[in-house]
Structure formats: C-alpha cells, structure tokens
Symmetry: C2
Subunit: 251 residues, 2 copies
Amino acid sequence: METIATLLEHRSIRNYKSTPIPENVLNSILEAAIRGSNTGNMQVYSIIVTKNTEIKQKLLPAHFGQKMVLDAPVLLTFCADFNRFNRWCESRNATPGYDNIQSFSWAMVDAVIAAQNAAVAAESFGLGICYLGTTTYNADKIIEILNLPKGVVPITTLTVGYALDNPLLTDRLPLEAVIHADTYHDYSVDDINRLYSEKESMSSTVQLVEENKTENLAQIFTQKRYTKTDNIHFSKVWLDVLAKQGFMNND
Amino acid sequence: METIATLLEHRSIRNYKSTPIPENVLNSILEAAIRGSNTGNMQVYSIIVTKNTEIKQKLLPAHFGQKMVLDAPVLLTFCADFNRFNRWCESRNATPGYDNIQSFSWAMVDAVIAAQNAAVAAESFGLGICYLGTTTYNADKIIEILNLPKGVVPITTLTVGYALDNPLLTDRLPLEAVIHADTYHDYSVDDINRLYSEKESMSSTVQLVEENKTENLAQIFTQKRYTKTDNIHFSKVWLDVLAKQGFMNND
C-alpha cells in the first residue's frame, strides 16, 4: 500500500532545501516518467531538465516570479513534442501529417502522463513537487528561453526538491462531487450548495474572503485569481503559440 | 520501492477477466485520482464511472470497436469540466470567465493528472489498465452517449480490470531521446538514426513492416495508423467539440 499512501499524501511543496537531488534518483524519476502510457508508443513529448541557475533566472518571470523556480534544485518542463517524431519520419521517406490540433492533443496528454509519473516517482523518493500552471500562460516566453523548435510546446512544469516544510493536505470536494455513475448527472443548486459547503465553511476560506474583501470564495476566483480579462489575454497567447509551433493546420 | 516498481512495470492491458472490481478498491482508486495536483484547487474535471453494459455497448463504436471497452468491468472517462465550477460561481454572484481555450487547457491537464493517478493506483492493486486515445477522436459521440453538458469535454478513457494475460513491457526510446539538459537540443540525422536504431531493428518491428508492406516503421505510422487525412478529419471534430462545449470564446 506504499503506492496508495504516496498518492493520498500528495501536497504541493513550494519551499525547498538547497540539497541537490542525487543523479541516480533523478534518473529513476525520469525512467518512471517515460514508462507511462503514451499515444501509439510514439512518445511525442520531451522533458527539459533545468538545473542551471542562469536559465532558472530567465524562467522566473515567465513563472510570475514564484521563487520556488530558483529554490528547487530541478525544474522539469514537460513539452508536447512532434519535432523528434517528424524528423524521424522525414529521414525515413515518410510524410508526417501531425501539424494539427488533434495530434497536439495526443502530445499534450502524453506530456501530462509523463509529468504525473515523474511527480509520483519523486514523492516516492521523499521529494516534494509543485506543478506550475504558468507554463501554458507564458508558453511563448518559455519557448524562447528553452529554445523549443517548431513542433514543441511546453505544457507543464514541475519543481522538484527536498521540502523545507510539511504543509497540510489541501482540501478536496467530496468524491461524489466529481464522480458520475455511468453517465453525467448535472448539478442542481441544492447539489452545488451541499458539495461546496465544507470548502466554503473552512476557517481558512472565511479568512481568505475577509482578506480579499469579496462576498465569497467564488468571487476570489472570478475577480482576483482567474479573471476573464487575464484568461482571454492568455488564450490569445496560447493560440498564437499553437499556430507558431505548427499545430493549427487543420484543413 | 513498491511505487517505482509499479511505475516501471506498467504495461497496457487489453484483455480482461470478467471479475468485478471490489467497491472499496474502486473507491480507493477514485480517492487517489482526486488527490492529484490540479489548477488552483478548482478541480475542473469529472470522472464518469461506467459499468453498465448497455452504455458500454453504445460507447463501443466511439472507441472504434475495441473489445476491451466491453470486457473491462469498469470504464473511467476523464473529462475537462468547468460546468460544475461555473454553476458554483453563478449561484454565488460571481461571473465565470472560463469559456476560453486557456481555461480549457488547465482543465485538460487536471483531467490527465487525475487519470494517471487512477492508473497508478489501479496497478498498485494488481489491476490492469489501458488508455483509449479514441476519446479525443470521437469526443462528439462520447458527449452524446455520456450526456455531457456544455463546459464538459471528454479527454481520455481508462479501461480497468483484472488482466487475462501478462504482456511484455513495450519498448521505449532510450532515455536520452526525450531528455534535454537545461534547454532543448535539436536532433541531427545522426541523432535520429542512433536513437531509433534499437526500435527499428527489433524483430517485432521487422515483422510488422513486412506485414504492412511498407519500407519501414515510420511509414506504418504516416500511411496506416495516424494518417494526415484522419488527423485533419478528427481535428475538425475536436475544434467543433471545443466550440460547442463553450471553450472557444477567446475574444
């Protein structure tokens, strides 16, 4: 039951010791990453392993200055990557037809499966991880810094290192909130009230709402953390990146 | 090291016993799924747990008739889901702005993290799994069968059950093929030849090429398995689905 315990005890680690990750441990994490399922065994992903402080410094603003980017000894940037596969095809008298959004979606799924295997492997070694969602926000900047060629799009980043603290488990909605038996059962207002009541009544939530001077937790999301204006801006960036990296030739 | 062993020993299981999955085991798998990282703790995913034979029969053609859809006792369809979150916002006087491709990308990442946690958890219980990539191909049909409302898009499906056989590990490219130190290092023709040589010289590959009457393995991908014509067709389906489910309002 070590595996289940590892999965159930996951918390995101945002403060790291400077202790480096032993090479054999990092290697096992990467080996575990590539054993995960992937589309048609094409392995259309790449993993950029960044330890160099200068490159981390360059990545810092792309990750909105989150200091764990510098503190964690290793950053793993998981990319959708058809560049390698296309080069293979082209050198084998085979014409690749993967410059479209369907192919991109396979590569995106592959990259995240590899990332989560790496995350679980790292945690099983007593390391801490945190996902950086900023990767899709500032994909354009990350492409430039990491020198990603056409066919390659960064999907997510893991910070990996030894935890400096041991944060509490984050709350989750009750299981019934996200599970549907056989087919989808839509939510009534009563369902929503019931499923969100524990989250909304937590003392940390009450405090957060007070600090943010909003009416409730939902408004913190819509007005502060994930605003429509930001989402639209970063959607344009994302669509531009998909086009520029060669995944929007859908006709 | 149970966890690393579980990850390294993964193989996709396509033949299943009819033995049902005990409820407490299935529950642990789902609990492990929702403990995974997710964007801003919004949990913008849903998991459809399908055991009903009639619904599996309906899903079968959407998964191109792969019989494991019927044979596996449980199908888990992981969906990007902003419907629940939007309903919560709307009932809290908060205006959601998540009908765009950036928000969709978070939900897609969340869904795959949950899926891979479920996969690892299932394997740690001695169960076998297989990902069905057909989910993004025929998302339109799956939406209809599983009754997915606006805001919900199926991303991937896991078949879960007890394995009827014990297939060999699938080959992978050498680790150096997918790993880049600090920044991306592009591939020369020599690199490609070296990195793909083991895969191309496997006796199973040689046999496959003979059966398919192609010049080489790459042509099996481009001419038989993942053709440009199919990819374009299923890209259009995917873009239509994203628009219809409300994720293409990017202006």
